[in-house]
Symmetry: C2
């Protein structure tokens, strides 16, 4: 049997109990629970527990999970030394890929990948990634690094490590919701990458490092930067309509609209839009939100009939900007959250592993001879 | 269309003009030239040129390619500083994955991936990997790092950087042949990983870093360490027969025998066997070679009829040991060589890219409700 399908579209390459997508109907569920339900009611920590255990935790289980995660917030001292000797010009995604990989060098048994060890390593990496991203950002800004606080939630802790001060409640909540929304999404490219890599029975560090490298591509996680760039190019709310219509006339894509999977409204965008509005008002970024909203109105009239709606990137850009994140930290935020999903898939793969080893079709010459160099 | 094939076996996931494998007949060709022909007559540099350009170079082209490669042997000063501040206990594959990733932070435009830029970055990474591996090994042994010499071949340069002295001709030749033999091998897991990662239009660093992570798994590149472990467990040539028969009786696998792809003699093992013998004699490792040879004889009687023959790992273990490489440097040697193949595949992918985005089959619950924590 030999089936060519470029990009493996339509080929089932894994089973999962984590997320379910119905793009036609605009449905995303984590372990059967609608994403909007989770966004409104859950937390990132609880969502990760759900993805890793395929059920919601009891109160006691959640408290223990949170305590365990929080006890691991600090990165190894050696890693902090490495981070503060990196080139300040490094882009955060190249830095993050390298530092998550580096964590494997500070682990006395990095290769262990029975399911218990794999979960343990995933929890540490998840806990330490905020310190890595925030630490590097402070270092490149010439600021000293901040110690994590084990009494903070994942979202609070990241924002505290980044800014050196406690975030407002709205900020922490909006950020937490972004983390929930990005945690898992079927067999996207980076998740598939993580499963392919672990299938050689390599290790959690190798799998997550590889996934970060995939995520940074502009056809994947890198897309959310484009929304912010567009918002920067539009001088005012009034100018938004003409900008969009001009782009559409030239058949240019509008960043943050449309999704390979969704032909209906991206279910991750609904609640985020509400939060983005509130956060923009709180932080004096109302004009930015209004620009976004105006773009959506124009797009709705122009192309919604074709199934092109705002996706999760669209309002997460406004959210991240309102929180004060620099543009090149947008994709690392995606990674922070998706580590939950990647790690869950790695564990699923380990539970029923088979090496990924597809075929290539060879389309070159055969039976060529090695011609000595003097005779070429 | 939806086809489940665990491990994607039998699914064509890419086209390539680089290598062709006929496992039944024991054929491996690079761009149509039999691997044995290349091993006997070519060099690693010429082989990489062949894989990247789909033809052998003229004398002038090869000279320019070699000169370009050699001019890039030295790693960035910042990277050398990083290497000499890593934990000495780090395993070389975790180190190599991290340092190849780190190279992206020293590149002022790491994300460029037009084909010309991608080749340029690949050439630098290929040139600098020997300095990274040898540099870390010297650092952990407490020795000072050695400056690369631009008048040396790739193989000579690596052995010189590792040992601080020029290798013998036989050593350099045997090592060069190992590099030729491991450079490409169809759509193996690490090569597939590299293509999946670059398909998001990420970058050469992300793709090669991911591939190194895949290679280190025991179901892939990590397998060659097992051969050496086995040789260490067999006290003498005389003891080899009983050791092998005992293992076979227990249905244990014999490291270095059999290959998912080859049902005939691995075409990479033929010439390597000759070289391993000569090198062992030169370096006083004759007993080791004789042990290997005896294992092959016993296996030939016992299981060759079932299509189980020595694979490339079997005699590369003896070769690497005779050269003086420590066990945990065996898989990094595979990586050094395979970077040639990985980079070639990344370039092929960029030339006709489509995002890899297979489907997952969701096998969990649906329409679950978020139950408030107090009611669970």
């Amino acid at each position: 049997m030999s089936i060519a399908s470029k990009g493996l579209e339509g080929v089932v390459a894994a089973e999962t109990k984590m997320s379910f997508i119905d793009g036609e109907k605009g449905v995303l569920e984590y372990v059967g629970i609608a994403i909007d339900d989770l966004a409104r009611n859950s937390t990132f920590e609880e969502t990760v527990y759900l993805l890793w255990n395929k059920r919601l935790p009891t109160k006691g289980e959640l408290e223990r999970f949170e305590a365990d995660l929080r006890s691991r917030y600090a990165m190894p001292a050696g890693l902090e030394k490495l981070i503060t000797s990196l080139p300040k010009s490094a882009t955060p995604m190249h830095m993050l890929r390298t530092m998550v990989s580096a964590l494997g060098m500070f682990d006395p048994s990095p290769d262990k990948n029975d399911v218990v060890s794999a979960r343990d390593k995933a929890l540490s990496i998840l806990a330490q990634t905020p310190a890595i991203v925030a630490g590097f950002d402070r270092y490149r800004r010439g600021l000293s690094l901040v110690e994590p606080k084990p009494n903070l939630t994942f979202a609070q802790n990241f924002l505290y490590l980044l800014n050196g001060e406690m975030p407002t409640e709205t900020m922490a909540r909006a950020f937490d919701v972004c983390m929930i929304l990005h945690a898992d999404h079927g067999l996207n490219n980076s998740t598939f990458t993580a499963r392919v890599v672990i299938s050689t029975l390599s290790d959690m560090y190798s799998a997550l490092t590889a996934a970060i490298g995939s995520l940074r591509g502009p056809l994947h996680g890198g897309a959310n930067e484009g929304v912010m760039v567009m918002l920067g190019e539009i001088p005012s709310v009034q100018a938004a309509e003409q900008y969009v219509l001009d782009k559409l006339a030239k058949k240019d894509k509008i960043p943050g609209f449309g999704h390979r999977v969704y032909k209906a409204y991206d279910p991750r965008a609904t609640f985020l839009k509400t939060l983005a509005k509130q956060l923009a008002a709180d932080t004096g970024n109302q004009a930015l939100y209004e620009k976004s909203h105006r773009i959506e109105e124009v797009m709705d009239k122009a192309v919604a009939a074709k199934g092109i709606y705002p996706n999760v990137d669209f309002y997460s850009a406004t959210t991240y900007h309102s929180i004060g994140l620099k543009l090149d930290l947008f994709t690392p935020m995606f990674a922070l959250s998706r580590i939950g999903g990647w790690a869950g898939h790695v564990i699923e793969q380990l539970e029923g592993n088979r090496l990924y080893r597809p075929d290539a079709e060879y389309i070159g010459p055969h039976d060529a001879k090695y011609v000595p160099i003097g005779q070429r």
